[in-house]
């Protein structure tokens, strides 16, 4: 009798195949690609340790459940603002500590970076007021859609409209 592949391999295969999409997926909820990368790294450790004999029916689904639990842990145990501050400092350190020869030289980076920040800020300033308010409350201050809706006395779907409208503007502006 031919034994089926070890389940942990299936799970790992699913992980490796889906890694970019996992980052994409969780970046939306966590709000940052860097946090999603972290989460995906934690997920890898979890999966490496996963019991070989465990029966895996739908690896994609299991992958999601493990990842979603990790995400909830992150969101539950650290307030978002604190998380973001920590993330900020962490990235700042790693980023400044490393050297990537293929990137543009530092002087150019700094110039480009300054322009980029200016660009992000100008784009934000240029938004229609209500749209900017919704985007700022939700994205920059970390309030949920529902909280933002309450603060602005509008419906949740109106908040979402504002935010997607803002993103559309910002994408257009940044391009």
């Amino acid at each position: 009798m031919v034994s089926s592949q070890p389940s942990s391999t299936q799970l790992m295969d699913a992980y490796l195949e889906r890694r970019p999409n996992l980052v994409r997926f969780f970046a939306a909820r966590l709000g940052s690609v860097a946090s999603a990368e972290d989460l995906t790294q934690d997920l890898y450790l979890k999966i490496s340790a996963y019991e070989q004999s465990a029966e895996v029916d739908r690896p994609m689904a299991l992958l999601y459940r493990i990842a979603a639990n990790l995400m909830l842990d992150r969101l539950r145990h650290e307030r978002r603002s604190i998380l973001r501050d920590e993330e900020w400092h962490r990235i700042l350190r790693t980023r400044l500590g490393e050297e990537d020869v293929d990137e543009a030289p530092a002087a150019d980076d700094a110039l480009g970076a300054r322009q980029r920040l200016t660009q992000l800020m100008c784009a934000l300033e240029a938004l229609p007021p209500r749209m900017r308010e919704a985007f700022t409350l939700h994205k920059l201050e970390g309030h949920s859609h529902a909280e933002t809706a309450r603060a602005m006395s509008i419906s949740i779907s109106a908040v979402e409209k504002h935010i997607s409208g803002a993103m559309r503007h910002l994408l257009h502006w940044g391009s």
Partner: protein, 315 residues
């Protein structure tokens, strides 16, 4: 209501709209397994979707970095703070840059000895790569970057004024918008020859900067502070693509190096005396053997076969 009218003032493609909907949908606290499955199905269907989503999520992430800047809550305040200490701004936005191109994969294009190949990049840029060459390509959202090690290539850069195309070849940077030109980095010498459009070449430290126009060629010895610009027929510079090597007063060492990159035995110079020679003429050759034979007929040299390759010796 006015907000919604404003909504419509910015046009977006259908794919971009869908990508934005996904970012919104996935940022809800109610996001679940079904979203995950459907999201994968949506992404898997087309590369354009992945690109559109990545662009949106990168922007989403950029603003997180802005929000994460310590003690910033309002954009208006951020603005003033940001313009305060310059160093802080520079440092903070490195993060933004890092996050923004996080998804842009690095592609490595290489050719073997004797092999020339054409590559078409996602943005429509075409790169014809000469033999024994290697390039790294990274198409980011804001810049398109190429890092050139030992290589020669003709770039036909797709026009995209929002994303400059920057080629780094040693201590030289070449910046273009949409144009066609040849770049060569071999043996410590970088050359850029322009056929169409405008090409800006700068030293890596940005202290020197030259704008080249069609029919001009720039030569620069790596590590030196100077570069020479002269009139040069782009057809000659790009002739290698048609399997012809065209030279005008070219040091013989360069000719030997070019021949060696063809298939067949290595071509070397016997001594410095031979290296002093320059060569003008056209060599049409499939391999180094026949190329060296033609060179032997046109230049005052003798070609000698040795176990380690072909040796060129001045008569």
């Amino acid at each position: 209501m006015t907000d919604q009218t404003n909504d419509m003032t910015v046009p977006g493609s259908a794919i971009q709209e869908a990508a934005l909907s996904w970012v919104l949908r996935l940022s809800r606290s109610t996001v679940g397994e079904r979203d995950w499955i459907e999201f994968n199905a949506w992404l898997d269907a087309a590369e354009a979707r992945r690109q559109a989503y990545d662009q949106a999520i990168n922007l989403w992430s950029d603003y997180q970095a802005v929000a994460s800047a310590p003690k910033v809550s309002r954009p208006a305040r951020t603005w003033r703070r940001a313009l305060g200490p310059g160093i802080a701004v520079a440092a903070s936005v490195l993060v933004v840059l890092a996050a923004t191109d996080a998804f842009a994969p690095t592609q490595v294009l290489t050719t073997q000895k004797g092999e020339t190949r054409s590559f078409r990049l996602q943005d429509g840029t075409r790169i014809d790569l000469n033999a024994s060459s290697s390039l790294k390509v990274k198409l980011g959202w804001r810049t398109r970057q190429v890092a050139m090690s030992d290589a020669e290539a003709v770039f036909d850069v797709a026009k995209d004024s929002r994303r400059p195309f920057v080629i780094t070849a040693g201590d030289e940077k070449i910046r273009v918008v949409g144009t066609r030109f040849n770049v060569r980095r071999r043996d410590g010498v970088q050359s850029v020859t322009v056929e169409r459009g405008r090409v800006e070449v700068a030293s890596a430290d940005h202290k020197t900067r030259v704008a080249l126009i069609p029919g001009q060629r720039l030569d620069h010895h790596e590590g030196m502070g100077t570069a020479q610009v002269r009139a040069f027929d782009p057809e000659v510079a790009m002739s290698w693509r048609s399997g012809r090597l065209i030279y005008r007063n070219e040091p013989l060492s360069n000719v030997a190096a070019d021949l060696t990159r063809l298939s067949g035995p290595t071509v070397r110079l016997a001594d410095a005396r031979t290296g002093d020679l320059t060569f003008s003429g056209v060599i049409s050759a499939k391999d180094s053997q026949s190329g060296a034979r033609v060179l032997g007929l046109l230049a005052p040299i003798t070609v000698q076969e040795t176990p380690s390759g072909l040796l060129l010796r001045r008569n």
